[in-house]
Symmetry: C2
Subunit: 208 residues, 2 copies
């Protein structure tokens, strides 16, 4: 059997290799651990250039998490990937309404997307939330619509859907509107793994 | 609100864009839908070159799925991402032993990795399995050890861990040993999203 390294040692060595491979490239210290964890999760250095942060987005999100905020995701994969033990220790939990049977029924009846109904339900939660959107551009469009209508004030929007149709537009709109703190992967790349990694990068800065 | 496209229409258009962006690049028709779905999931065209397939791996896996085989994953994220409705309609289910409390306890007691105990448990399942490994190189090393000991005959190994430590080696070893049909992402890239996408690409070829 292989020489066994402890998971934390593997992670430390991985981050050291990432730092080495970044070479002279300087990262904003506030965002560095988020960017490196996304690279750790994807082995894709494009995220050094892709990730856009509104002013002090990470600090604001960490403050919200410390205060017990919840996280809303657009897929079960993002929910599965988030460290729920740390989140719970801070008083928060993860919600994903997208695959609820009654969400699908309501969306059909009203002629809107499941994403819209899901985000509307999240807006009705009694706590401030971080929105971790790794899949559905429609979720980002819905968030923007709800914010514009004054129905939602997210603690942070993690806008990292991946894909080829409406994806780039949905992310640029979050940046342009700048109606909430955001972390967005510009361009086509992103995904459920990236959304979960960004959440965990912030949770690990609070507690490990 | 945005003009609404149906999810299936978005997917069709996405695949058309991927095909267009591939240009003159020819893909092996047997593997084409797997490669394109991984690109659809990552927006990363590196997978055109990264993905290595043993002979007729996709056909063999589709035959196994039709016969009701199960899928074993190394993370809850891969499990969350697999289309379990289609899999169940074929008679299969998804197992993930990695985060079971008794797996952790047994691993500690025996001084082996959780991945090893998990893969050993999977080897004891009464059905042939597809192994979808998106995270843990130790899971791939464990599979190889169990196959070498004659304790395991996987229907397919999806070997797509991502990362910087032991990852490349674990995947190359699966290719060199060639002890089971495999789909492997050579190099550092991969992930839970890629592992789930490969499973779904095969499931969707059977039923949608």
């Amino acid at each position: 059997m292989m020489e066994q390294m402890k998971p934390m040692d593997i992670e430390k060595r991985s981050f050291a290799i990432i730092t080495e491979l970044l070479g002279d490239r300087r990262l904003d210290p506030e965002n560095e651990l988020v960017i490196k964890r996304v690279i750790h999760t994807t082995a894709d250095f494009d995220y050094v250039d892709n990730l856009a942060f509104s002013g002090h987005a990470v600090q604001k999100a960490i403050a919200a998490l410390r205060a017990g905020c919840d996280i809303v995701t657009d897929t079960q994969m993002v929910k599965a990937g988030i460290n729920k033990t740390i989140l719970a220790s801070l008083g928060g939990e993860v919600h994903c309404f997208m695959s609820d049977a009654d969400v699908a029924a309501e969306a059909k009846e009203r002629g809107v997307t499941r994403a819209f109904v899901s985000m509307e339900r999240a807006a009705a939660l009694p706590k401030p939330c971080i929105f971790a959107i790794g899949n559905a551009p429609t979720a980002l469009f819905s968030l923007e619509e709800l914010m514009e209508a004054g129905k939602l004030r997210p603690a942070l929007i993690i806008g990292v859907p991946v894909g080829f149709v409406n994806v780039v537009e949905s992310k640029e709109r979050i940046i342009e509107a700048a109606a909430a703190p955001y972390i967005v992967s510009r361009g086509r790349k992103g995904g459920s793994n990236v959304a979960a990694a960004i959440c965990n990068a912030m949770l690990y800065q609070i507690r490990r």
